[in-house]
Structure formats: structure tokens, C-alpha cells
């Protein structure tokens, strides 16, 4: 499949999925009414639902899913490891730790942004610790050490969270677990704005670094020989990808699987050139998450299934089929 074909297909799916996400929800809104409602002629409640519940939610899904796709592709290139994904540097562990701490101290309800801020702070803490460990005295960042320290830091935060939960009352545990399973239910325009402000410039920067990333994915030595500023590219890309992930986790909880599978799927279809891989991973990730969110909302309405469950349930079979087909082709 050529990049252009996949690109066109994904843009189409992206837009369609977005529309479907706005059209459908737990409260049926007749399609004929939608346009009137947006213009302001329909009932106020319906307008509220469309513009203040569904639209921000769909947009947030697009940015978070797209961001995770971008981050996943970037980490896979920089760590030269197909198993890499956005949470590999312990970011989800740090964010969960921040969120759970705030919930258990009874501060989460004090303001609607306490929880995301705490999660973001926890994520930054994890990033800081992991980078600190991985940068040697010579200022060189060894990605193998990065990988290892990410695993270790993640385990550490896991233990801290388990400890906090073991001495917490039932309600805290329930809140904490629900948060970590990921949810876009709390999406509002403020979160959409933040996600956009972080993800768009980050995405643009990463796409501009597509060629150096191509080289880094082959090897740091090769990249150096072909003129790349290896340490510089490494740091900028890692920090950007980590920040995108931190913001995603802060607003939506831990949504797994997207950052791992989406880049691989795109790679199987159009190859590893990051000039195509990055923007297509963004589109594919956004589409994927918008679809998953729609299913999460509708399947057992009015109850919402945690979105991480849906991403895994859809993603796994889809990816396995793709994997089989690609190995058969070879």
C-alpha cells in the first residue's frame, strides 16, 4: 500500500469516526435535529450534550490516540525496540502514583484539575528519574540503560501504589483502579485545549525530525556517520514523546495498547520511513481511540466500559490478523 493511499484512507476514517462519535451516544439524538441544535434552535439540553459532552470527548480521543501513536512510533525508533511503547519509561507508573496519592489524600475533588495536575507531576517525576539514571557522566544517554531504568522505575511506582491502596478504604481503591483503567468520560474543552497545545507542536517537531529518526532506528553509530546530531535528536525526541504521553495520561488515564500496536500496523502497511509513519500513526491512533471510545460508551449504555479494555479487545485480534497476513506475504 502506498503512503498516499493509506493517508487518504485514514483521513477519511478519521473524519467519519469523528462524526459518528458526535452523532451517537447514550442519549439518542435524531440526526435531523443535530444541525438545528448546533445552530441553537434545538433544546438546550441537547445542545449541551452535543457541544459540551460529545464534541470535546471526540476531540480528546483524537488527540490522545494520535499522541500515543506518535509517542509509540518515536520510542520504538529511539530505543530500536519493537516492544517499546509510550509507557515504557515508567510514565504510566508515575502518573498513576500521582493520581492515586491525590485520591487517597482526599484532594481529588477539590478542583477539576487537581487530579490531572497530580498525574502530570507524577509522570514528570518518572521521566526525570529515568533520564537521570540513563545519562552517564559524559552526558551520553544510553538507551539500553534508559529502557532498563524505565522498567525499574515503573516497578517502584507500582509498589508505592500497591502500598497506598493496601491502607486505603474501599472507595479510594475503586476510584484509583477506575482512573488507571483509563476513561475519556471527564473530557471537557479545557482538556482538549491542553492536549492540542502539547500534541500539535510536538507532532510537527517529530515529523520534522523524521529523517534523523529513520537513521536512529537503524543504529546510533550509523546515524552519526550519516551526519545526525545523535545526542541532540535523542533528547529532543525523547522529551517530546514523553511529554505527549504525560499529557495523555494526565487527562485520560492509562490507555494501553494504542502506542504499541498502531505504529506497527502502519509499518506493516507502508514501511518504516518516519515521514509517513509519524503522521499516519497520529491519524490511525486518533481513529482507533475515537472508535474505541464510541464502543465504550454505547456497548453497555448507560454504563461505560473502561476504554483500555476496548482498545485491547479490538486491537489484539486486528493486529494478529495483520501480522499473519504480512508474514504470509513474505
Amino acid at each position: 500500500m502506498s503512503k498516499a493511499t493509506l493517508g487518504a484512507l485514514l483521513v477519511f476514517l478519521f473524519v467519519i469516526t469523528g462524526f459518528l462519535g458526535i452523532l451517537f451516544g447514550s442519549v439518542p439524538l435524531p440526526i435531523s435535529e443535530i444541525w438545528e441544535t448546533v445552530r441553537g434552535d434545538g433544546p438546550a439540553a441537547h445542545r449541551d450534550i452535543l457541544l459540551n459532552l460529545r464534541l470535546p470527548r471526540v476531540l480528546l480521543a483524537a488527540f490522545v490516540g494520535g499522541g500515543l501513536g506518535l509517542a509509540g512510533a518515536t520510542f520504538q525508533a529511539l530505543l530500536r525496540n519493537p516492544l517499546a511503547e509510550p509507557y515504557i519509561l515508567g510514565i504510566s507508573g508515575g502518573a498513576s502514583f500521582g493520581a492515586v496519592s491525590v485520591i487517597s489524600f482526599g484532594l481529588a475533588a477539590s478542583s477539576s484539575w487537581t487530579l490531572p495536575l497530580a498525574a502530570f507531576a507524577g509522570a514528570l517525576l518518572a521521566i526525570f528519574l529515568v533520564f537521570r539514571v540513563a545519562i552517564s557522566s559524559g552526558g551520553v544517554m544510553d538507551v539500553r540503560v534508559l529502557l532498563l531504568s524505565g522498567v525499574v522505575i515503573a516497578a517502584f511506582f507500582s509498589a508505592c501504589i500497591a502500598f497506598i491502596l493496601s491502607i486505603s478504604p474501599a472507595q479510594t481503591i475503586q476510584s484509583a483502579v477506575l482512573w488507571t483503567m483509563g476513561s475519556l468520560a471527564g473530557a471537557d474543552w479545557a482538556q482538549v485545549l491542553i492536549a492540542a497545545v502539547y500534541t500539535i507542536p510536538a507532532g510537527v517537531t517529530l515529523i520534522a525530525l523524521a529523517r534523523p529518526l529513520n537513521l536512529m532506528a537503524i543504529g546510533e553509530e550509523t546515524a552519526y556517520y550519516l551526519g545526525t546530531n545523535v545526542e541532540g535528536v535523542k533528547r529532543i525526541s525523547l522529551v517530546i514523546a514523553a511529554l505527549i504521553t504525560a499529557v495523555s495520561v494526565a487527562v485520560a488515564g492509562v490507555i494501553g495498547f494504542v502506542g504499541l500496536v498502531v505504529p506497527h500496523t502502519v509499518r506493516i502497511l507502508v514501511g518504516s520511513d518516519h515521514r509517513g509513519l509519524l503522521p499516519l500513526s497520529f491519524l490511525a491512533g486518533g481513529t482507533f481511540l475515537m472508535t474505541a471510545d464510541l464502543i465504550a460508551r454505547l456497548a453497555l449504555s448507560p454504563i461505560e466500559i473502561p476504554i483500555g479494555v476496548i482498545t485491547a479487545l479490538i486491537g489484539v485480534p486486528f493486529f494478529l490478523v495483520l501480522l499473519r497476513q504480512s508474514s504470509v506475504r513474505r
Binding site: I49, L117, G139, Q174, V197
Partner: protein, 294 residues
Amino acid sequence: MMRVRGQPALILKLLVYFAVLTSACQSTLKEKDSSSPNRIVLIDAAGLEVNLERPAQRIISLVPSATQTLEALGVSHKLIGRTDFDVEDWASDIPSVGGGLEPNFEKIIALKPDLVVRFAGEQDPNTRSRLDDFGIAHLSISPDRLTDLYKSILLLGKATGAEVVAASIILSIKEDLVDLQQWTSEKPRLQVAYILGGSPPWVAGPGTYIDEILGIAGAQNVFSDLGFLYGSVSPEQMRSRIIDVVLISDNAQFDHKLTPEARVEKIGKALEFPGPNLAQTAKQIAHILHQYQL
């Protein structure tokens, strides 16, 4: 390029940037409400001020005990939304908005409530702020002790214009409980455990209405020395205490082998919610323990 010692400063900057951005977004997007002087002003269980133009007419209850209270107050016709945990027969026709902690907001908004009753406390940090975002009045109640129950009944009564009924319900509950307590004070105290279910078993500790009701019904809650309101206990803890009677709700699974010498009695759903029927429940328990005449 970035050096290690520059990173703490960078991280601090990022945090501040994020915080400023979120709060800026919040304040620009939230519409300020400056309405006329209000008819009803209440302080709810979370200490928040609740303003209602007039008695609530369209209520969504996210708290099962509040649903029961609304019925006792005679305003169940004002209930337009409930949760999946409300299993009263009379409420089955009323649409559900999902679970109490993560209610479905589309449903809530579509029902156009003028009051949402929710749990005070940490469980669901988002509901309160989202209700504020949409300009929907909300009242929180606490489900912990008997005093919380009385306060809830009064709050709901005031909010629905049924203040007089509320006061009389509270009085009647109090009288019944005082009478019962006097009656059971002459009976030997039995060691009782109330199991909510689960494995390991989930029990009620001190500071809960369960603890208080058991005391009034002539029982000593064997778990009144625990350090939490609700939590699980190990088999060792169960064995190490003398338990005369184990009370469980109908749905609960309980392994009798944990308390081989105790008498196990099912008491239905009576103690599951701190609702207005607690006085009846107390008498029921006193009947089981001490043959109190119902």
C-alpha cells in the same frame, strides 16, 4: 542541548505551565453565574452551599439511601433518574444513569434535572465539577452515621419543600430507636458480626450506622475496635473473636466455616443502605437476637 542540571528547572517550568494552562482554560470556559436572590439555601454534607430557586421538582438520585428517603418524604414522584443500585420496585420505571460513582452525563443532562443528589467525599472527583460546569445544582449527603442520616433526611426535606414531613420522620425514627435501646439495655449483650460479603469478608467497623444500629439492637459489634469504617478481615481475625451471631445480607456469600460456633442469620437488604427504614431494621435485628416483639 539539555544538560542534567537544567532538567529540574525545566520540569518545574512545565508543571507551572500546565497548571496555569489548565486553570486559565477552566476560568475562560466556565460561565459565571450571577443569579437573583434564592429561595432555598442549604449547606450539604460536603460543606458546600446549595442554592435552589424553588423546591426541587426534577431530582436525580445517585445515592440509593436518598432514593429511599425521597419515597419516605412522599416526593418520589419528583424522582426522574436513579442508579443501577436502586432496586426498589417503585423505581424500576425510572431511567437509570449508570453507576453512582461514574454516572453517565449524557443521560443526566438529557433528563434536565434541577437537583442531583450525590455522595459527599472522594469517590468521584469529577462529578461535582462537571455538574458545576453544566450549571446543575447538586446536594451531597454522607452515608456514614445515624446523624448523617438525620441530616440527609432534613436536607432532602428542605430541598423538596417537605421540611415538616422530614422533621416528623426524623423524630419518629429517634423515638423508636430510644425505646428500643431502653428495651435491649436489659438484655445480655450478644457479640455480633455484620458481613457485607466478599472474600475475605468485608465488615463494618466503628463510626458506621451499622455499628450504631447493632448497639441499639442489643448487640456488640465485634469489629468496633478496627481502625476503618469498612474493610476486610482475615480468617484469623474472625477466629480470634468470640462471635455469637453472624448477620449477613441476602446476596452475600459467607463461608460458615470461618465462624463455626456462631449462629448465622440472613437479614435481607435491610442494613445495606442507611435509609429512613433503619428503625424497622433495628427492631428486626432485636427480634432475631432477643426475640423482640415486632
